[in-house]
């Protein structure tokens, strides 16, 4: 029977005392490929998604380089169509969707709720294999004709016209969808059934709440993408006539189906980022989170309302004006919980003992960039404004502010925050800080310019453009190099730490949630004995002169 101890008393075992840590527990590649340890699976996901991020990033740099001049720079128009499609498809399906949940989430959720593993460890490993298989099928398109449909695979271009390997990419995305569904299912059951004694819902770290909401979306939305892509594959292979207008099908139905998944999928991408930022801000300002329940429930609210706004991608598709008006209204509504979060994070910082280390820098970068991304999303949710800005660089800038400035920045912030826990190594603060600053500068150079481009009428996905846009495009391209250097420096800093980093203590940041109460890296069973939780995740003692939140 498990022994009990309060959180305050669970001491990190010194290395050598007790069980061996999860990295050293089992040697050789086979022990990794057959592991059911959520931490090892999380690490393998981490390696996979970072690799995908590099591949997608190279495509991004190629696209930006091509756009340096108004006509041909380095590639043909057909090559350009493939480059931006692969950039989008790889970044969405291979990087952002699995990024935080499958890597950090897998590693952290069981530890944060005080469990030994996720509810279904074998299913967890199975999900990873499905992800790998789907990813390989998607990437096989690289050598089998590429893909040039855009990541949205709109019909009838994707079903009848395009001669590229559409089936490989869509089949790959279809298969990876199962991985996403099963991971979400695993997390929800874990959080319901495996919380340690004393770990009430309101004592859970906010990352858990965010990933719970994410998992709900993964479970409910992904099957619809599954059937959509399956219908598309059949449409392309057999011309069955569901989507192809020439056969009596309805291309707008495809858009409805696609965005019924892909708009909620936007929240699969950003909600985990929200969760990470809640952790980073609280821990690195040693401050109880302001409005814990507001942040927790706003995640759930975003997940639910997020299902009802997909039509704002289709204001110019010919959907009815009434539908457009309703979708526009609901889009404003879904902005409210995001706003609640930003205000609560800011209030948490107020009066906190802010330490400007790398995770906090990334969190601050997130706050600024996400706020811009979120607010410009409200512009686009307005019917009249959207008619002007639809499919322009304004849209491109908006969603990159949310996806890169939000999710990718939160992912890197979280990576720096939990790196000592995952690997047992401290990284160079200097390298981390410089990478955060480079990312901030490079990102704004790349994408703030695109708001101007878009509002002046530069359409997205165009190979050539008017000469008058060249200064802004060139500035954006130079920015992409700075941005790329920032992310690369971040990755290098972490990798170098594996070799040269100092041994990390169990709790380098003074965090209160359970993952900081066990060794770095944790033992295979996560804790020496089942923890008994006696306080919330953010009940920091007040420092001298600090005031309780009003």
């Amino acid at each position: 029977m498990s022994q009990t101890a309060t959180v305050d008393h669970v001491v990190a075992p010194d290395s050598g005392k007790g069980a061996v840590d999860y990295i050293r527990n089992g040697k050789g590649i086979v022990s990794w490929l057959t592991t059911i340890d959520h931490k090892r699976i999380g690490l393998m996901y981490l390696g996979s998604v970072v690799l995908a991020f590099l591949v997608g990033g190279l495509f991004a740099l190629a696209v930006r380089l091509e756009l340096l001049t108004p006509s041909r720079t380095i590639m043909s128009a057909a090559g350009y169509n493939q480059a931006y499609t692969l950039h989008g498809a790889v970044m969405v399906f291979l990087f952002i969707i699995p990024s935080i949940p499958a890597s950090l989430g897998n590693f952290l959720i069981p530890i944060m709720v005080g469990a030994k593993d996720v509810a279904f460890p074998k299913l967890n490993l199975f999900s990873l294999y499905i992800f790998w298989i789907g990813a390989l099928i998607t990437l096989s398109s690289l050598v089998l004709g590429g893909i040039d449909t855009g990541w949205t695979f709109y019909v009838p271009y994707s079903s009848r016209v395009s001669t590229t390997a559409v089936v490989n990419v869509t089949l790959g995305a279809f298969i990876m969808g199962f991985s996403s569904i099963l991971t979400g299912l695993n997390f929800i059951v874990t959080m319901h059934k495996l919380r340690a004694p004393g770990m009430s819902w309101y004592r859970m770290p906010l990352l858990c709440w965010a990933l719970y909401a994410t998992s709900l979306v993964q479970i409910v939305a992904t099957p619809v993408l599954g059937i959509t892509l399956l219908l598309l594959i059949f449409e392309r292979a057999f011309q069955i006539g569901i989507f192809d207008p020439a056969l009596g099908g309805d291309p707008v139905l495809f858009q409805h189906f696609f965005w019924f998944y892909s708009h909620p999928a936007v929240y699969i991408m950003i909600l985990p980022g929200f969760g990470i930022i809640s952790e980073l801000i609280a821990v690195h300002s040693r401050r109880k989170v302001f409005g814990y329940k507001a942040i927790a429930f706003s995640s759930v609210a975003i997940a639910l309302i997020g299902f009802l706004v997909w039509g704002h991608h289709m204001f110019v598709s010919g959907q009815s004006e009434l539908a457009g008006t309703i979708f526009s209204f609901l889009t404003f509504i879904v902005a409210i919980p995001s706003g609640i979060k930003v205000f609560n994070w800011t209030s948490t910082l107020w009066g906190g003992s802010i330490k400007l280390d790398t995770p906090m820098l990334y969190a601050l970068v997130f706050l600024i960039l996400f706020t811009i991304g979120g607010l410009t999303g409200v512009f686009l949710g307005m019917l009249g404004v959207d008619l002007h800005l639809h499919d322009t660089y304004f849209v491109v800038a908006h969603f990159h502010y949310v996806m890169v400035g939000g999710t990718a920045v939160a992912f890197f912030g979280g990576l720096f925050h939990w790196w000592p826990k995952m690997t047992g190594k401290m990284y160079s603060e200097k390298g981390g800080a410089v990478s955060a600053i480079l990312v901030f500068i490079g990102f704004n150079m790349t994408f703030f310019t695109q708001f101007f481009l878009g509002s002046r009428g530069m359409p997205r996905r165009y190979y050539n453009y008017l000469d008058q846009f060249q200064p802004l495009h060139a500035f954006s391209t130079v920015g992409s190099w700075v941005l790329g250097a920032g992310f690369a420096l971040g990755i290098v800093t972490l990798l170098v730490s594996l070799k040269n980093g100092k041994q990390a203590p169990a709790n380098p940041w003074g965090g209160l949630s359970l993952e900081w109460q066990t060794a770095s890296p944790p033992i295979t069973e996560n804790f020496e004995s089942t923890p008994v939780v006696t306080h919330g995740a953010y009940d920091y003692p007040l420092a001298q002169g600090q005031k309780e939140h009003a």
Binding site: L185, L194, V224, L231, Q239, L247
Partner: protein, 225 residues
């Protein structure tokens, strides 16, 4: 899973050993987790089929005439028999779960065998239906070659939806047969008892959903004129 099914507990009743995975504090939590997982999985199945039900509703409202004309070419007798067959399979599955809960190994074997037989009957009848449609050229989209239709293009879309929905449903029946075979083998090894029957119950829940989807498919495709 231990195969020492002959182990006897103190009261003399046959109670096979079962394994509580290391990360579950108790057998109850393990059982409830599994059940919750199955229910969440069933949610995803409903949404998967939801997309197809949705396209059926849209195209039926667009192409009412063509759909009504096309649906007359479905075989109501075969579809009706298949409905009865699947309902019977649901009954035997439910009884099999009950038998597992009461540690009646022999009954579980017989009932799961019956369920398998019903499922196979369903697929055999489906095979005859499909080959009939293939023979008549009642096929999706551009492959639709049957003559004498007022709206061949609309009928093509009807058969696209018919084949997608019944095909994916048929695939689920096949997967269900695999799962039933799996628990049948485990039952023959004596792994289930009133203390441990979670896999039987889980497969049962899945099987009922597969039946339930057909209960909706049959009237929508075959009967509604």
């Amino acid at each position: 899973m231990s195969s020492s099914a002959e182990a006897h507990v103190a009261n003399g009743e046959k109670s096979p050993q079962f394994h509580v995975a290391h990360h579950f504090p108790t057998a109850d939590i393990q059982f409830n987790s599994g059940k919750m997982g199955i229910w969440l999985f069933l949610v995803t199945e409903i949404l998967l089929f939801g997309g197809m039900f949705c396209s059926f509703a849209i195209f039926r409202s667009w192409y009412l005439g063509g759909f009504v004309e096309a649906h007359h070419h479905l075989d109501r007798v075969m579809g009706g028999i298949n409905t009865i067959v699947l309902i019977c399979s649901s009954l035997t599955m439910a009884l099999a779960v009950r038998a597992a809960q009461t540690t009646n190994k022999k009954a579980v074997t017989v009932l799961l065998g019956l369920t398998l037989a019903f499922a196979a009957t369903f697929l055999v009848i489906k095979y005859f239906e499909y080959s009939h449609k293939f023979h008549d050229g009642l096929l999706p989209g551009i492959h639709f070659t049957a003559t004498g239709f007022q709206e061949p293009r609309e009928a093509g879309i009807f058969f696209a939806i018919y084949f997608m929905m019944t095909g994916i449903h048929g695939f689920h029946v096949l997967a269900g047969m695999g799962l039933i075979t799996w628990i049948l083998i485990r039952n023959l090894k004596g792994q289930f008892s009133s203390r441990y029957y979670a896999p039987v119950e889980g497969v049962g829940l899945y099987w009922h959903l597969v039946d339930l989807i057909w209960i909706y498919l049959f009237p929508l495709l075959y009967l509604v004129g």
